[in-house]
Amino acid sequence: MTDTNETLKVTPLHALHLELGGKMVPFAGYAMPVQYPAGVLKEHLHTREKAGLFDVSHMGQAFLSGADPAKALERVTPADIQGIPEGMQRYGLLLSDEGGIKDDFMTTRLAGEAALYLVVNAAMKDADFAYIAEKLKGQATLAPAPDRALLALQGPLAADVLERHSPGISQMTFMQAKRVTVAGAPAIVSRTGYTGEDGFEISIEGKDAEKVARALLAEAEVLPIGLGARDSLRLEAGLCLYGHDMDDGIDPVEANLVWSMGKRRKEAGDYPGAGRIAKHLQDGAAKKRVGLRPEGRAPAREGTEIADKTGRIVGRVTSGGFGPSLNAPLAMGYVEKEFAANGTKLDLIVRGKALGAEVVAMPFVPNRYKRAKK
């Protein structure tokens, strides 16, 4: 493993990961910590109980500018970008012309700023940025920000911790975003994350990353958390991992992500792949992403076949494992639409044996976002 490190990129926190005993693995072209000495299980549970700090600097950050960048960005997504209020972030899907999901991403409209701030997945960032730049040519200009780092502070005590380093920050609510100072460093902070917990994502200059990370890690509530726990946390939260739970052959209806499409956009049908997607919105798609709870304790991993009770294969697991907070195995996958209703009994074919499973609602573990009071 060590010899591949030469060709891998590193984040501004690489030296800190090594100092903390991070077990480094290749991920999306970067050397990233899959776990620290505490281990995946403890890191996962710690994040749900207190607060965990994640280095997600490998993700792609960029700014989109132009006469009307929000209108331009709607050429590649069915999300309501123009409708994002100032100081808010929104989840969206990047679609191909055929309506396939090229990636999922976050768009932020910072107060008083014309440019939009975007965050895309690490593995897809080069392709995404090239695609967006090409599709929006003449309408908007995309400026990637490879020198920025991104930290996620997640868990029920994240707000208490961050408040000490950025007074007033705990007043923010879910999906709000703003420019503030964290531990003396200029930052873009959003009250978001990918664990199902309350928490924040903190974008800072790469040169400030270690200072900010050390300040947060010095707090008694905070442990560093690796990619292993990040994956089990997002799976328990029912959140998709690009390249596993969705790809460019899957559309938003199949992926059960219709909520991320703007109402105005659905009505206007002015998004990529509108032909296929509108038909699926009307008639339903042939397959759908669902949550699955296997009986017993054996995890069903990605690629596991899903059968109906007659033994016919009706789908496939796209993410599966063991949920430390659930203390049980869990999975998500695609099944034919007739089998997608909650409560449907199916079998998972694990090492040649049929293990019973039930289609369940997601998230598997309740979300604890700090939503604004209506």
Binding site: G39, K42, G321
Partner: protein, 124 residues
């Protein structure tokens, strides 16, 4: 009198008379991380040396456990089904997987002793 030997698949096997107790090494347990599930063989099952005998799954991945020597399974450590974390706590003791009635002592003699296994792990 018992003697412990090791495989290049990171199993250990302790021989007492013709009864072999099998588990995964401390190195294997550390590499796997937190074990969350084990699947053990039934007593009476016959396995060949190097054959798949059990499954161990951590939060991260599933791995096969191979029989270091051939024989007939006489017992499985069913405690692990309810408490898989025992594999991490005491991999070369209370975290044993199964016992075999050894069919051929020569198979045991071919395996690595502790010093050879330590060298092998160092070279990985």
């Amino acid at each position: 009198m018992s003697e412990v030997r090791f495989t290049d698949q990171h199993e250990w096997v302790r021989l007492e008379g013709d009864e072999a107790t099998v588990g995964i090494t401390r190195h294997a347990a550390e590499q796997l991380g937190d074990v969350v599930f084990v699947e053990l063989p039934q007593a009476g099952r016959k396995v060949g040396a190097g054959g798949e005998a059990a499954v161990v799954e951590s939060v991260k991945a599933a791995s096969e456990v191979y029989a270091p020597v051939g024989g007939e399974v006489t017992a499985a450590n069913s405690v692990l089904e309810a408490e898989p974390a025992k594999v991490n706590e005491d991999p070369e003791g209370a975290g044993w997987f199964f016992k075999l009635k050894l069919s051929d002592k020569a198979e045991f003699a071919k395996l690595m002793d502790a010093a050879a296994y330590q060298e092998f792990v160092k070279g990985l």
